[in-house]
Symmetry: D3
Subunit: 261 residues, 6 copies
Amino acid sequence: MKIKLINPNTTASMTELMGSAARAVAAPGTEIVLATSRSGAVSIEGHYDEALSVLGTVDQLLEGDPADAYVIGCFGDPGLLAAREIAAAPVLGIAEAAMHAATFVSTSFSIVTTLERTRVISEQLVRNYGMERHCRRVRATDVAVLELEKPDSCARAIILGECEEALRDDKSEAIVLGCAGMADLAKALEQHLGVPVIDGVAAAVKFAEALVGMRLRTSKVGDLAYPLPKPYLGKLAGYAPAKLFPTSSPSQPTERLAISG
Amino acid sequence: MKIKLINPNTTASMTELMGSAARAVAAPGTEIVLATSRSGAVSIEGHYDEALSVLGTVDQLLEGDPADAYVIGCFGDPGLLAAREIAAAPVLGIAEAAMHAATFVSTSFSIVTTLERTRVISEQLVRNYGMERHCRRVRATDVAVLELEKPDSCARAIILGECEEALRDDKSEAIVLGCAGMADLAKALEQHLGVPVIDGVAAAVKFAEALVGMRLRTSKVGDLAYPLPKPYLGKLAGYAPAKLFPTSSPSQPTERLAISG
Amino acid sequence: MKIKLINPNTTASMTELMGSAARAVAAPGTEIVLATSRSGAVSIEGHYDEALSVLGTVDQLLEGDPADAYVIGCFGDPGLLAAREIAAAPVLGIAEAAMHAATFVSTSFSIVTTLERTRVISEQLVRNYGMERHCRRVRATDVAVLELEKPDSCARAIILGECEEALRDDKSEAIVLGCAGMADLAKALEQHLGVPVIDGVAAAVKFAEALVGMRLRTSKVGDLAYPLPKPYLGKLAGYAPAKLFPTSSPSQPTERLAISG
Amino acid sequence: MKIKLINPNTTASMTELMGSAARAVAAPGTEIVLATSRSGAVSIEGHYDEALSVLGTVDQLLEGDPADAYVIGCFGDPGLLAAREIAAAPVLGIAEAAMHAATFVSTSFSIVTTLERTRVISEQLVRNYGMERHCRRVRATDVAVLELEKPDSCARAIILGECEEALRDDKSEAIVLGCAGMADLAKALEQHLGVPVIDGVAAAVKFAEALVGMRLRTSKVGDLAYPLPKPYLGKLAGYAPAKLFPTSSPSQPTERLAISG
Amino acid sequence: MKIKLINPNTTASMTELMGSAARAVAAPGTEIVLATSRSGAVSIEGHYDEALSVLGTVDQLLEGDPADAYVIGCFGDPGLLAAREIAAAPVLGIAEAAMHAATFVSTSFSIVTTLERTRVISEQLVRNYGMERHCRRVRATDVAVLELEKPDSCARAIILGECEEALRDDKSEAIVLGCAGMADLAKALEQHLGVPVIDGVAAAVKFAEALVGMRLRTSKVGDLAYPLPKPYLGKLAGYAPAKLFPTSSPSQPTERLAISG
Amino acid sequence: MKIKLINPNTTASMTELMGSAARAVAAPGTEIVLATSRSGAVSIEGHYDEALSVLGTVDQLLEGDPADAYVIGCFGDPGLLAAREIAAAPVLGIAEAAMHAATFVSTSFSIVTTLERTRVISEQLVRNYGMERHCRRVRATDVAVLELEKPDSCARAIILGECEEALRDDKSEAIVLGCAGMADLAKALEQHLGVPVIDGVAAAVKFAEALVGMRLRTSKVGDLAYPLPKPYLGKLAGYAPAKLFPTSSPSQPTERLAISG
């Protein structure tokens, strides 16, 4: 099976880092295809960066051969529902996958993320995914995303310290790493801390394999049905649904059911 | 004061319709500046349409003279937090404004919206805005957005019927109209139904005036601080924050406070 | 338009303070009519003070010429729903207005209020208004309401200190002032703190103007319908609905709809 | 032990009806003292009726010999927290008691109440008391409170019908009667329906006995501490705390703890 | 009336301790029958201990003469719903009873419990019982259950210290003791702390008396209906429902209602 | 890898049915080991059946060679947290797995389950797993668990009909099958309905593979730490932790962290 791992930011070295984490856990028959957005921010650290990242993610999702599943490799899960609309193959976000994984191996976790300004974004995801009972706290370290890549930065020490505080003060029993750029830290932190430390890239790849293995595909009735065919104008004219992917019929989706029922 | 009303879809006639609703309620000193997105879908009916609409909304927000406040004229409030990041002047969504207005004049309301497929989007907004106690139900009519513009369609009759069901079955005490394209229907429906019927365009314009009158501006500490300066690549290179609007300093926002404290 | 600002406590100097805040933001055509309760506590600091304050608020609401909108000037919003029942013109509470305003310019805020014993009242309002996602914490200063009026008290310094803690420890991005008696502090605190500081009196006045401008009136179907006509006995005999305001018909409100439908 | 059962409306025959329900369940050593408000509405069917009923309830609570516990006999629990402030003996509301009792003998219940317009009030209590998981639905019958007293009305048949719908459609496993005036119906309905039917008057009396038996009294630290001593003006001058009941010291309640700690 | 107090752990001295607390509050006509589980853990401090404790609780519930009500004397309320299924007489858990009692005499409480590892169990009960608005925090002391019985341990001092922190830091207004083994501490702590301190054993006994006094029995429609008759195999063959207690008919429970309706 | 699939009821034919569903989706290197409880009910349809099923599940979990992961094959997820305590290898419940899977391929789902009396159990799981935003409704069919096995019963037709109602009336976009005994129906229903239909056995097996692939194991700090060593008495004496599995040290788990920190 082929899983396309899309980095919504435009920093290829971060895609490589994610790719390593993905391949380290992928099953024998799984091919990880890496894709880096060609449009937008070099790192995603706020609502504006996120919103504009969707364009490049859509480009990568539609380009090339179709995959059996897609992973969006940014902890804010930008464009996740839009991506689910335009694909029938499963699409997973790494924040979503990490939090779900955490609930299978602990009853409480803390998220350790990057900049303070992104904390609200994580807190919104916690609520959207129904994780309020499990996530005790989102902890921002004020480490910038790209700082994680610098070999001589103190980013890792800061993250370790924050994880230790999470265990001691939040009484959390697992750690969710709140940035794709931390993917390579998970196992070392786990060793050090003695509790599960979850990297969303690995989690999303394995859950994608699982969904493909169950032959589950995104529902095409209702909220995630293919977009309706309609004109797109201006510099986005090329994104008109009918040009790019199957579209939904504008008729009411429940009608058909009533007929066949 | 100048309020820029941005239509995130590319259908100018709908912008005009919203403009009429806006001007009908604007205070004497308020100038309503209309802006129609030049990029993207002719109507917004799903996550994909929404996600891609943000680009054109950002363009319109940044273009021309700065306004004292901005209104995003689509009931999904697409790009609202991104817009708040890049502006210090207040930015309001019409779904947000309509729901808040409804809570001031009723203890329960129903939303009557367009396509069934957009119902989940409205339900998510209801939760994000803390309206679960007030909003009894989101009702989709399966009327397409652009159908609302056709003089001979039965769209209005369908919407009226749905509103009547909302009062009878949901026991709601007010109606929130779930599409900018219904802005012209509010007062006629109100007359007919005998309960408040709230159009988000009017609500957003009036609340924008209110915030400007209070001299309140979007907080630039934390979640809605200006984006960080950073490179943007590819076809979005022109959207790099430093080229377009003030940016936040990458240093920690709370540091400054600690010093001045 | 005429907005009547009712102080539910019996301290006229506090009404004047609120009046200044109201007039500072009122639109050119808005007349602010001040009214001080003639019955009850000199300051409202608990459930008993609140419950008994409703009588004087009702008196002021019904006395004199009708206004286009009413504001209840106490942060506990005492009697708000009762007031909405007996008026068709919009009625706003200052806690309600302040919190709603805060959500338009920030994604998180803290409330800084007076006595510790009133904290639970604010927390209940936070939940009633659906503000749990936005309000990070209610902070009591244990400053008594009337202390705020004394020029030589250290009340202001304590409030400033508490606001600074809210930004630093709660990571809040805006401050809601939890007492009508703090109305004059908002702009100075905002200057000092660098984040929006919201006074409910100003917010309520501006939102009242907004609702009147939208020609929205309180729903008279269901929960907020005029009270039913019925005898009132004893020292409250004069408060029998039929003597004071229009009343609802005892017949079922939905019947009429069914007929007209 | 002496339990004072206060009817917040001014209809003495309804007090008698409640008294019968109370005495039918009271323990041998329990004396039920009946008190009917002398001020306000003959029946309580809305926010205005409720708000004004607190005065008469306070009068009755303070008048005569102190009781070991108090019950407020109206399903909206009007003035409950104010009453708890001014008494140290336990005070119970009948809605509160009925819902708590229901959770001990079922995992789901429906409330069957009187007028549609009071449904929102019950729904707010459901949330305030944390009963959202247990209460499947509030069902209004549009039977007026005083209609319950008329021997030849069809009120009882309507209520029975609504209870049957609750079992069939809501899949509820118990019924909570949503009006003090239904107290005499509980056991007959229970017989007929085959599920627990809970009258709040009986529940409140028994829980009051239980709390007295545990020697529990209302906390006088924080939210329910005695009101602060302060002037009350005008027609409520006689309600100044210091004249009527012990008052709290204006000093900070936590200070004392710190000293003794 | 006869109330059977079942200790789900196998330590008879703890049953005696609970028995003293129960008898200290029982009404004159109430007989407290003590029962200690004969199977399972000597103390219950986790999910495994809890799950296995249900067997011994069921044994005690079914053994001997039937009681008018049952109390499960462990703060995790293990097997509560299973016990309600197999009995028609009311069954109460001590955590449930303590939390409900606390809401009648305070608006906020903290739970002070034993081992840190049991904190999640208490937090889950808080949510299941709808106590999130009232319970400010669950505080673990890391005192083991059986440590409470040792006269020379510092368990009591630790618990007192934790209670004092709860009042100071959580601003709680009452304390719920989170272990049956603390039943004898309640009144001394209450004296010391000046706020209500609630022991669940006393609360459950008194609420059991109250329910019996109301002649309320567990609903036998739906979730808590008697188990269906069916074979049980292996070492649990003796627990087949038909051998031990009345069973439900496998037909649909609502059918009967429809017929009689 | 070896995944042990434990049927907590004692009906071996149902274990076989689950085994087929498991093997149909298992990855090449995965061995599915089947285990049927030897103690307790032939089908699990209520709290009592559930509570007593834990014993046999524990027996099967501990018996024989350790597996790499465990699946509890009953939609009520009985004993899930107890099982997680006594194993370090991941343990998954099928209700949990099915609901999580559903959120990856839809934004709303309905659960179609067996007897009406088990509906509350499913609703409690929905809340415990944070699925209230995704699960629109739990639908009971009143089909008994063992009825599903009879080839000539109308169970399948009833289930199909209920699924169709779920799509039409709940507007759900996916179906979660609420019983292990429905595992063989999923793909046929999916074909017929045109939306994802999720069987929890398949989902749990694939997620178990995923967790093992990520090398995640259950957190042994806090809530899910191994049980403490302690005596077990009577007929459960053999279940004393120290005899069966590693145990936790009674010392405080956070101490160690503090030292190493």
